[in-house]
Amino acid sequence: MHYVGEHLWAAELGRGLTAFSFIFSVLAAIAYYLKGDEWKKLGRLAFRLHATTLFGLIGLLFFIMANHYFEFDYVWKHTSLDLPPRYLFSAFWEGQEGSFLLWMFWNAVLGFILTFTAGKFEGPVVGVFAAVQAFLVSMILGVYIGEMHIGYSPFILVREMSENIGLPWTQFQDYLTRFPNFADGSGLNPLLQNYWMTIHPPTLFLGFASTLVPFSYAIAGLLRNDYKSWINSALVWSFFSVGILGVGILMGGAWAYEALSFGGFWAWDPVENTSLVPWLVMAGGAHLLLIQKNKGGVVPSTLFLLILSFLLVLYSTFLTRSGILGDSSVHAFVDLGLSGQLLIYLLFFTIGSLGLLLWRYKSLPKKEKEDGMDSREFWMFIGALVLLISGLQITLSTSYPVFNQLFGPEGLISLYEENKVLIDPIAHYNAIQVPFALIIVLLIGAGQFLSYHKTSKSQFFKRQILTFIATTLLSILSCWVLDMWNPMYVGLLWASYYAAIGNLEFWFRWARGNWNVAGSTVAHLGFALIIAGSLVSNANKDIISQNKTFIHEEFPANENLLIHQGDTVELGEYWVCWTGQTEEGIYLNYELEFFEEKDGELAKVFDLSPRIQLNERMGNVAEPSTRHFINRDIYTHVTYADMRSMEEQSSEEWKNQFDIELAKGESHFLYGKYQVKLDTLVVEAPNTTDGPEYIVLGAGLSVTTMQDSTYKIMPIYAVQGDEAQHVDAEIKELGLKFSFDRINYETNKPVIIASEHKEAEEPFILIKAEVFPWINLLWLGSILMALGTVIAVVTRIRRS
């Protein structure tokens, strides 16, 4: 059949480009693997063709999305006519296929660069890239082999989706113009319509892609049995990776803090964890590379960490995209049907790389002499080990759902009878990770004062007397101001100050501003501030909203403050007034005015407007509003609100009119407090020769309150000729009125209009307000760490 209005050329071209991209990546992997210059040239050509076809297909997908070709499933699901063009990028990587493409894009870019810079390692390094790309492109191939499918193509048409094949509407040639569904797409989830969604995923995926470079160098080294000439290149790339991946992760935290009501920037959610772990391991690996370069003797552990970091990226991909985390993460992941393919991808590289490492293990150069306890390399090695253990702990705890799948009651080998779960994940991770962080910052502080090979003890201590004094004084002052005396926290704060001040002192006083250590100084200073900022802002987080209007005997005062409109109530050191709400597109803004008490009078200090996003697809979402001060943030969000507009809430005698459509037996939750159920529908229609003379319909409703009392009522709707009459039913005690308005002819259900008596309720909202002290240290630290890695990478490229 020939369908009207489809852009089949784009579908053909898109699938063609995907297929060629796949074939070229496989060809490149094989050609690069074979020895000889001719093969290498062929591999290079194939890889560049792979990258070119990939860029072509990405461009094509952008094109069909920008032009709203809604016959394409991906376009229809992720864009809409009213989507602002600036969110086209966000829409592109909203879906599974698009985010794979984003990842492949960065891999192709990095691989392309490496075809020029990798020199004599080009063969194995770009070869590994090609192999990885082959697996990734297969995720979007959309090819069926018998019953088994390989990947989902973003160029599939809606009518070709397996759930639509054979449906009646696919029989119409002009289905695109016949069915209103195709006039517009469902659009980008409003939750993702913000600038974070534009910048966070590309950064994070560049971070993920960058872990592949050190991995490839490690594999290349193992294949060639050469553990020397690639160290410098891998070093630069691994610090690049640490920087970009770190920024990507922190951006996710900033997004959660600024725009989502998760109540903080880090929640130890599986998704956050599985992107943090590769970073921890890569940071360890990068430092081992430094030891290897300056001193040598750590080849096996360096290789292990560099390989592991990439494998953990694959594991993270598997966890987040297989639907296995469904019960344990706020990011609702569903099985997208690629689990099997993802598992093969993960196993191939895990077995391949670790197998290669084991096979070569005996021939790897080992340490000739033990490192002294007074050498920098010894403590740097310990630091890398701690990072590794920290990462493994997070991985193990995040993998509970995997263990349950393997060994749980319904698992492959059933070892235990009930699925395991972490009861209080935040407390669990904090309890274990805080000591790890403490060791790391202590090592960061001491590291600069240690020299490779041997450090003089007296000089080591003498050089940092000032640091010790300053750190201790500052810690005592901070703890006193914050009233924070938990020994573990005091220790961590001291250690992170020590790392920050120690690095500064070393750089200015002993290294005399030497440009070569600038990168590490700034990055380490940044890391220390991140730890200090996270600790202080989280451990001293103060929930200042306390509901004092009513405290139930059995329950402690609540953390949600109830404010009636126009009332001014106490909120921590402030007084807050809810003046009203305004509608702005898909947002309801709740205007809050904050006052401070000065000489017995209230003086306005600032406004905040936390808002609720009316999101049909995901449900309504609260977005916080934060007042930033240098030394603290006041963070508020609306935790409960009546979602109707102001006008609706305050009309004449009856207000809050609300249409309820019910079939017999169905019920509806009304005004957040009543359960309305249609028990029966009474019909009276005496027949005459020309059909019914009149029709009387009565809706038998039962209304149940929170106190469990039930009221039975029957509003009536009568029709005679073209005249209709309504007899409304009222429940005086509750101040409720029900009117039987009409029958919805499309659904055949009665439509009841409910309304509330005006006096019934005054508008109110519940808000939660928290103070995060010194959270700016965290953001300052993030910027410094990013800046430091940039300096480090640039100075290293210049030197080599």
Binding site: S328, L396, M706
Partner: protein, 131 residues
């Protein structure tokens, strides 16, 4: 003793410590029956919302209560001292962390799963056509 051996011993010590903490903190998913047996002990139950029963939210006390059914079909009243989560009615599955008392299950944390939201939107409604 060699330094590398010291390092490995430290690593092993940390791992043992970790395992101990882990055992203390982990628990298993349970159902309402098991939760009632261990009254007052924190546990996690996966269940479904029973829409037949009432769902109440009192903003004055910030108390939300509903009736949930666990996977074995046992049902109980659940009290959640937090504002009612948005679109709670539409949830398919609810993961509730909390403890049982003799009258109700007190939930301290609730996670909802609503995958159908996404699918509903993406169905072609072929009854609707341009006339």
């Amino acid at each position: 003793m060699k330094n590398s051996q010291i390092a490995i011993i430290i690593a092993i010590a940390v791992l043992i410590g970790y395992t101990l903490v882990r055992l203390g903190n982990s628990s298993t998913y349970s159902n309402f029956e098991q939760a009632t047996e261990k009254m007052g002990e924190k546990t996690t139950v996966i269940g479904y919302l029973n829409l037949e029963e009432s769902m109440d939210f009192n903003p004055k006390t910030v108390q939300f209560s509903f009736t949930a059914k666990d996977k074995k079909g046992n049902q109980t009243r659940v009290i959640y001292n937090q504002p009612k989560p948005q679109d709670f009615e539409r949830s398919e599955e609810i993961t509730m962390t909390g403890y049982a008392t003799d009258t109700a299950f007190i939930a301290t944390d609730i996670l909802m799963k609503c995958p159908s939201k996404y699918n509903e939107q993406n169905e072609i409604d072929s009854d609707k056509i341009y006339k």
